[in-house]
Protein backbone atom coordinates (compact mmCIF):
# COMPACT_ATOMS: atom_id res chain seq x y z
CA UNK A 1 0.00 0.00 0.00
CA UNK A 2 2.90 2.31 0.74
CA UNK A 3 4.54 1.78 -2.65
CA UNK A 4 1.45 2.99 -4.51
CA UNK A 5 1.42 6.32 -2.65
CA UNK A 6 5.14 6.82 -3.31
CA UNK A 7 4.77 6.09 -7.02
CA UNK A 8 1.79 8.43 -7.37
CA UNK A 9 3.81 11.19 -5.66
CA UNK A 10 6.74 10.60 -8.03
CA UNK A 11 4.36 10.74 -11.01
CA UNK A 12 2.87 14.07 -9.90
CA UNK A 13 6.32 15.65 -9.39
CA UNK A 14 7.47 14.43 -12.82
CA UNK A 15 4.28 15.82 -14.38
CA UNK A 16 4.92 19.24 -12.85
CA UNK A 17 8.49 19.27 -14.21
CA UNK A 18 7.29 18.31 -17.71
CA UNK A 19 4.51 20.95 -17.66
CA UNK A 20 6.92 23.76 -16.75
CA UNK A 21 9.44 22.57 -19.36
CA UNK A 22 7.20 22.41 -22.39
CA UNK A 23 5.06 25.46 -21.64
CA UNK A 24 8.11 27.71 -21.18
CA UNK A 25 9.90 26.44 -24.31
CA UNK A 26 6.80 26.62 -26.49
CA UNK A 27 5.97 30.12 -25.33
CA UNK A 28 9.54 31.34 -25.81
CA UNK A 29 9.68 30.12 -29.40
CA UNK A 30 6.56 32.02 -30.33
CA UNK A 31 3.69 29.55 -30.58
CA UNK A 32 1.02 31.92 -29.17
CA UNK A 33 2.20 34.78 -31.37
CA UNK A 34 0.96 33.71 -34.80
CA UNK A 35 -0.65 30.60 -36.33
CA UNK A 36 1.99 28.72 -38.26
CA UNK A 37 -0.35 26.83 -40.61
CA UNK A 38 -3.91 27.50 -41.77
CA UNK A 39 -5.54 24.88 -39.52
CA UNK A 40 -4.24 26.46 -36.30
CA UNK A 41 -6.01 29.73 -37.14
CA UNK A 42 -9.36 27.92 -37.35
CA UNK A 43 -8.87 26.17 -34.00
CA UNK A 44 -7.90 29.46 -32.34
CA UNK A 45 -11.05 31.16 -33.58
CA UNK A 46 -13.24 28.24 -32.45
CA UNK A 47 -11.69 28.39 -28.96
CA UNK A 48 -12.33 32.14 -28.88
CA UNK A 49 -16.00 31.53 -29.72
CA UNK A 50 -16.60 29.59 -26.49
CA UNK A 51 -15.18 32.40 -24.36
CA UNK A 52 -11.44 31.68 -24.30
CA UNK A 53 -8.39 33.70 -25.22
CA UNK A 54 -7.26 33.98 -28.88
CA UNK A 55 -3.53 33.54 -28.23
CA UNK A 56 -4.12 30.54 -25.98
CA UNK A 57 -6.20 29.11 -28.82
CA UNK A 58 -3.31 29.59 -31.24
CA UNK A 59 -1.07 27.71 -28.76
CA UNK A 60 -3.45 24.73 -28.64
CA UNK A 61 -3.91 24.72 -32.41
CA UNK A 62 -0.17 24.73 -33.04
CA UNK A 63 0.25 21.72 -30.73
CA UNK A 64 -2.39 19.81 -32.73
CA UNK A 65 -1.04 20.72 -36.17
CA UNK A 66 2.68 19.99 -35.76
CA UNK A 67 4.88 18.09 -33.27
CA UNK A 68 6.28 20.78 -30.96
CA UNK A 69 8.02 20.73 -27.59
CA UNK A 70 5.21 18.65 -26.07
CA UNK A 71 5.86 15.84 -28.56
CA UNK A 72 9.60 16.24 -28.04
CA UNK A 73 9.19 15.87 -24.27
CA UNK A 74 7.05 12.72 -24.49
CA UNK A 75 9.12 10.94 -27.15
CA UNK A 76 12.46 11.80 -25.55
CA UNK A 77 11.31 10.43 -22.18
CA UNK A 78 10.10 7.25 -23.94
CA UNK A 79 13.46 6.75 -25.64
CA UNK A 80 15.32 7.53 -22.41
CA UNK A 81 13.28 4.82 -20.70
CA UNK A 82 14.11 2.30 -23.44
CA UNK A 83 17.66 3.11 -24.60
CA UNK A 84 19.45 5.55 -22.34
CA UNK A 85 20.89 8.95 -23.23
CA UNK A 86 21.46 8.08 -26.92
CA UNK A 87 17.71 7.79 -27.42
CA UNK A 88 17.33 11.51 -26.85
CA UNK A 89 19.60 12.28 -29.83
CA UNK A 90 17.66 9.93 -32.14
CA UNK A 91 14.43 11.58 -30.98
CA UNK A 92 15.78 15.03 -31.83
CA UNK A 93 16.62 13.88 -35.40
CA UNK A 94 13.23 12.24 -36.05
CA UNK A 95 11.23 15.11 -34.52
CA UNK A 96 13.10 17.60 -36.76
CA UNK A 97 12.16 15.56 -39.85
CA UNK A 98 8.52 15.44 -38.71
CA UNK A 99 8.50 19.19 -38.08
CA UNK A 100 9.80 19.90 -41.54
CA UNK A 101 7.11 17.65 -43.10
CA UNK A 102 4.44 19.77 -41.34
CA UNK A 103 5.92 23.11 -42.61
CA UNK A 104 7.31 24.34 -39.29
CA UNK A 105 10.83 25.68 -38.58
CA UNK A 106 11.51 23.05 -35.93
CA UNK A 107 13.27 24.98 -33.18
CA UNK A 108 10.84 24.08 -30.39
CA UNK A 109 10.77 20.30 -30.90
CA UNK A 110 14.51 19.63 -30.94
CA UNK A 111 15.38 21.97 -28.07
CA UNK A 112 12.56 20.53 -25.95
CA UNK A 113 13.86 17.00 -26.55
CA UNK A 114 17.42 17.97 -25.63
CA UNK A 115 16.44 19.79 -22.41
CA UNK A 116 14.27 16.95 -21.12
CA UNK A 117 17.17 14.55 -21.83
CA UNK A 118 19.44 16.70 -19.65
CA UNK A 119 16.84 16.90 -16.86
CA UNK A 120 16.23 13.14 -16.85
CA UNK A 121 19.94 12.30 -16.78
CA UNK A 122 20.35 14.66 -13.81
CA UNK A 123 17.39 13.27 -11.85
CA UNK A 124 17.88 9.58 -12.69
CA UNK A 125 18.86 8.37 -9.15
CA UNK A 126 15.68 9.82 -7.60
CA UNK A 127 12.91 9.53 -10.24
CA UNK A 128 13.12 6.79 -12.86
CA UNK A 129 12.34 7.74 -16.53
CA UNK A 130 9.22 5.55 -16.41
CA UNK A 131 7.44 8.13 -14.28
CA UNK A 132 8.15 10.93 -16.76
CA UNK A 133 6.10 9.15 -19.45
CA UNK A 134 2.98 9.01 -17.29
CA UNK A 135 3.62 12.52 -16.00
CA UNK A 136 3.73 13.94 -19.51
CA UNK A 137 0.36 12.32 -20.30
CA UNK A 138 -1.16 13.95 -17.23
CA UNK A 139 0.39 17.30 -18.21
CA UNK A 140 -1.06 17.22 -21.73
CA UNK A 141 -4.42 16.11 -20.27
CA UNK A 142 -4.70 19.30 -18.22
CA UNK A 143 -4.27 21.44 -21.35
CA UNK A 144 -6.03 19.62 -24.19
CA UNK A 145 -8.55 17.43 -22.47
CA UNK A 146 -9.98 18.90 -19.29
CA UNK A 147 -11.46 22.36 -19.89
CA UNK A 148 -10.63 24.36 -22.98
CA UNK A 149 -11.87 27.75 -21.77
CA UNK A 150 -9.90 28.08 -18.55
CA UNK A 151 -6.79 26.45 -20.05
CA UNK A 152 -6.69 28.99 -22.88
CA UNK A 153 -7.18 31.85 -20.41
CA UNK A 154 -4.21 30.60 -18.34
CA UNK A 155 -2.01 30.18 -21.44
CA UNK A 156 -2.89 33.67 -22.65
CA UNK A 157 -1.91 35.14 -19.28
CA UNK A 158 1.47 33.35 -19.40
CA UNK A 159 2.03 34.53 -22.99
CA UNK A 160 1.30 38.13 -22.05
CA UNK A 161 3.75 37.95 -19.16
CA UNK A 162 6.56 36.66 -21.41
CA UNK A 163 5.98 39.35 -24.11
CA UNK A 164 4.74 36.92 -26.76
CA UNK A 165 1.38 37.99 -28.10
CA UNK A 166 -0.66 41.18 -27.58
Amino acid sequence: MDEIVVSILKMLVAGAICWINFVIIDTYFGLPEQPGVLGAKMIGEKVKDIGGNLHGGYFMGNIVCSPDASAGTLLASIMNYLMGVEGGLITALLVWIGNRLCADPGYAGTIGALTITAIISLLKPIIEPKYFVAGMVLAIFTIQGLDHKHASLLLGKIAKKMNRGE
Partner: protein
Protein backbone atom coordinates in the same frame (compact mmCIF):
# COMPACT_ATOMS: atom_id res chain seq x y z
CA UNK B 1 -0.88 -4.50 -14.24
CA UNK B 2 1.13 -1.50 -13.21
CA UNK B 3 -0.30 1.62 -11.57
CA UNK B 4 1.10 3.84 -14.38
CA UNK B 5 -0.67 1.86 -17.11
CA UNK B 6 -3.96 2.07 -15.21
CA UNK B 7 -3.71 5.87 -14.95
CA UNK B 8 -2.87 6.29 -18.67
CA UNK B 9 -5.66 3.86 -19.60
CA UNK B 10 -8.22 5.81 -17.59
CA UNK B 11 -7.24 9.03 -19.39
CA UNK B 12 -7.47 7.29 -22.79
CA UNK B 13 -10.93 5.85 -22.00
CA UNK B 14 -12.24 9.28 -20.97
CA UNK B 15 -10.86 10.84 -24.17
CA UNK B 16 -12.54 8.18 -26.34
CA UNK B 17 -15.94 8.84 -24.78
CA UNK B 18 -15.54 12.61 -25.15
CA UNK B 19 -14.66 12.29 -28.85
CA UNK B 20 -17.81 10.23 -29.42
CA UNK B 21 -20.12 12.67 -27.61
CA UNK B 22 -18.67 16.07 -28.66
CA UNK B 23 -20.71 18.15 -31.15
CA UNK B 24 -18.20 20.71 -32.46
CA UNK B 25 -15.85 19.56 -35.23
CA UNK B 26 -12.81 21.61 -34.23
CA UNK B 27 -12.81 20.52 -30.60
CA UNK B 28 -12.86 16.84 -31.62
CA UNK B 29 -9.36 17.36 -33.02
CA UNK B 30 -8.03 18.54 -29.62
CA UNK B 31 -9.33 15.40 -27.92
CA UNK B 32 -7.92 13.25 -30.76
CA UNK B 33 -4.47 14.75 -30.16
CA UNK B 34 -4.64 13.87 -26.46
CA UNK B 35 -5.74 10.30 -27.28
CA UNK B 36 -2.78 9.95 -29.64
CA UNK B 37 -0.39 10.93 -26.81
CA UNK B 38 -1.93 8.24 -24.58
CA UNK B 39 -1.68 5.45 -27.19
CA UNK B 40 1.93 6.37 -27.97
CA UNK B 41 2.84 6.09 -24.28
CA UNK B 42 0.98 2.76 -23.94
CA UNK B 43 2.85 1.27 -26.93
CA UNK B 44 6.20 2.12 -25.35
CA UNK B 45 5.18 0.69 -21.97
CA UNK B 46 3.82 -2.52 -23.58
CA UNK B 47 6.76 -3.35 -25.89
CA UNK B 48 9.92 -3.03 -23.82
CA UNK B 49 12.54 -2.84 -26.60
CA UNK B 50 14.07 -0.07 -28.78
CA UNK B 51 11.98 -1.12 -31.79
CA UNK B 52 8.86 -0.26 -29.78
CA UNK B 53 10.23 3.23 -29.27
CA UNK B 54 10.76 3.68 -33.03
CA UNK B 55 7.19 2.45 -33.62
CA UNK B 56 5.84 4.98 -31.11
CA UNK B 57 7.74 7.87 -32.74
CA UNK B 58 6.61 6.98 -36.29
CA UNK B 59 3.00 6.51 -35.15
CA UNK B 60 2.88 9.86 -33.37
CA UNK B 61 4.39 11.88 -36.24
CA UNK B 62 2.08 10.37 -38.90
CA UNK B 63 -0.95 10.90 -36.66
CA UNK B 64 -0.03 14.58 -36.37
CA UNK B 65 0.29 14.80 -40.17
CA UNK B 66 -3.20 13.36 -40.59
CA UNK B 67 -4.85 15.79 -38.17
CA UNK B 68 -3.03 18.68 -39.86
CA UNK B 69 -4.70 17.74 -43.16
CA UNK B 70 -8.15 17.49 -41.52
CA UNK B 71 -7.84 20.96 -39.93
CA UNK B 72 -6.72 22.47 -43.26
CA UNK B 73 -9.76 20.97 -45.02
CA UNK B 74 -12.20 22.32 -42.41
CA UNK B 75 -10.79 25.82 -42.97
CA UNK B 76 -11.03 25.46 -46.78
CA UNK B 77 -14.58 24.11 -46.96
CA UNK B 78 -15.95 26.77 -44.58
CA UNK B 79 -16.33 29.23 -47.48
CA UNK B 80 -18.02 26.76 -49.81
CA UNK B 81 -20.76 25.54 -47.47
Amino acid sequence: MDILEIVIGAVALLMTLRIFLERSRARKLLYLCCLSFCISALIALYVKSPMGGITAIVYFITSTLSSNAIAYTIEQTKHIE
